[in-house]
Point group: C2
Chain length 332, copies 2
Amino acid sequence: MMEHGTREYQAVWMEGSKLMMIDQRLLPERFEVIELTRASEVGSAIKDMTVRGAPAIGAAAAYGMALAALQGDDLRESAEMLKSQRPTAHDLFYAVDFMVEALKRGEEPAKAASRYANQIVEKCRLIGMNGALLIKDGDRIMTHCNAGALATVDYGTALAPIRVAWRGGKKLFVYVSETRPRLQGMRLTAYELRNEEIPHAIIVDGASGHFMRKGVDLVIVGADRVALNGDFANKIGTFEKAVLAKEMGIPFYVAAPISTFDFNTESGKDIVIEDRDEDEVLMMDGKRIAPAGCSALNPSFDMTPAKYVTGFITEIGVLDPDQITRVKGARI
Amino acid sequence: MMEHGTREYQAVWMEGSKLMMIDQRLLPERFEVIELTRASEVGSAIKDMTVRGAPAIGAAAAYGMALAALQGDDLRESAEMLKSQRPTAHDLFYAVDFMVEALKRGEEPAKAASRYANQIVEKCRLIGMNGALLIKDGDRIMTHCNAGALATVDYGTALAPIRVAWRGGKKLFVYVSETRPRLQGMRLTAYELRNEEIPHAIIVDGASGHFMRKGVDLVIVGADRVALNGDFANKIGTFEKAVLAKEMGIPFYVAAPISTFDFNTESGKDIVIEDRDEDEVLMMDGKRIAPAGCSALNPSFDMTPAKYVTGFITEIGVLDPDQITRVKGARI
């Protein structure tokens, strides 16, 4: 839950026939909840990152399909439209397919989408329980981007084990790499940790190696898509942390629900990496920070080969990369 | 030379009894030259990074000692004051000691300082010539921070081989990592490359590994201090690039004049790393970008062990890390 004032919030939820969503682009300066009634609005919110983080994108898309059904939109078109908004997060595709099947079976749209969102919350809670077993009292943990409650409806993926361990009384310190260009680490993860009073410090992305050498006990990140061989895509900068952790003998864990695993993608080579607008790098708060006439390359994700992964923290336990194929076909 | 309007500029230079300095904090938005007449003003300019980059800091300090002598200040106090402004860049100490000796010999202050600055320019030109031999037509080169003309009076260290290779007709592409928190890569290196029309793209620091895997032929960075065993300190984020380059089999070069080598420091463990104010991370252009109540750790440099270095590009050739001890004691 995100605390704000006296209330607690999820990243997305339904109120009657309206989809409510925290506008994550405005955090931490402003806490604003927007109302959506059309699937097309949900599509835009996914594309412009009003909602972000693979599991939360999945939940938003599930609700988007519910809105489409409630409004009598063409469901096939709505499904295609939603899937086309961002190419990397597997949950987006998983959630839309989940809803297509549920609606075919005649489930009530809002109820089916809520079921999907509630499942995510429960999965993240289990990820937290499983992951907390890896955390010792006094551990210094590094994370990247925001794989917290805001990214996942509630609890988080990478932050779930940290939350559960902290609530269980373990002393922790979290290094939060700021995550340029959009600073989700600084602006969202630090915000969530501060709200729970979990000790942490923001560092620039380039300082990760420096602090790993000074002493980090484990790295936990989220994922946007995991391939069958254990290669995975996550926010740009993840691959670097994985290589550095391996070089320094630090365990490197990926926390993700099985909905993020793409059993139809053999390896990382087949994962599409989204390139976003260069202005995300060159501008800050609407003002250009780069010299005139210079341009940027802005891949939103990178791919980390399985060999750098110590384990995948999932709702069904901590998996070795080579165990993923055994999960394929299991209905979870 | 830095072009601006119809004139070319160095990072620092004397006009009569005044020291002129480009205010690098204002670039690329504003090009402003400030005038300094007191050593204490030079000390402040070094501390607040009006002038930055190890060789340029050295030149500024040499001119600072000249101003102290011209003003009749206590030279020992001035030397201590200047040396205390920043702890990591070895050139600062080297330049002040150079001036103390020159003034003891009775050299004219401004002339001695100009001789020091001109030597740097010549050394950087030689670094350019030596380094250009490592660059092939069509190479994709990655650099970090600003080790360009602005950092070194003229030419640059890491940028010198790129300039010389480009002017010699080689086709190049330069990946410029933006270098948080102060963005010297984006704001200074990209600015210098654009002024010379050398093809380049700005990337966020966390994307370095991604682009190395896509294809980078060599990495060239500068240094603030090189220890006797080849360990070296440079802008935060350098260590990560060195580890990534090694992992991917990409040659990793450090371009630095011998004045950056500290023959009294045995290894990187003995190099003092400057921690700077957390507001450099948490604020942007005077506005807070981080959530209220969150803090940051802000080491300005990191240390890269010698084992990651392919070679040091110096004015006397490209040295293996284990050749550094042989240079000790040589007067260059």
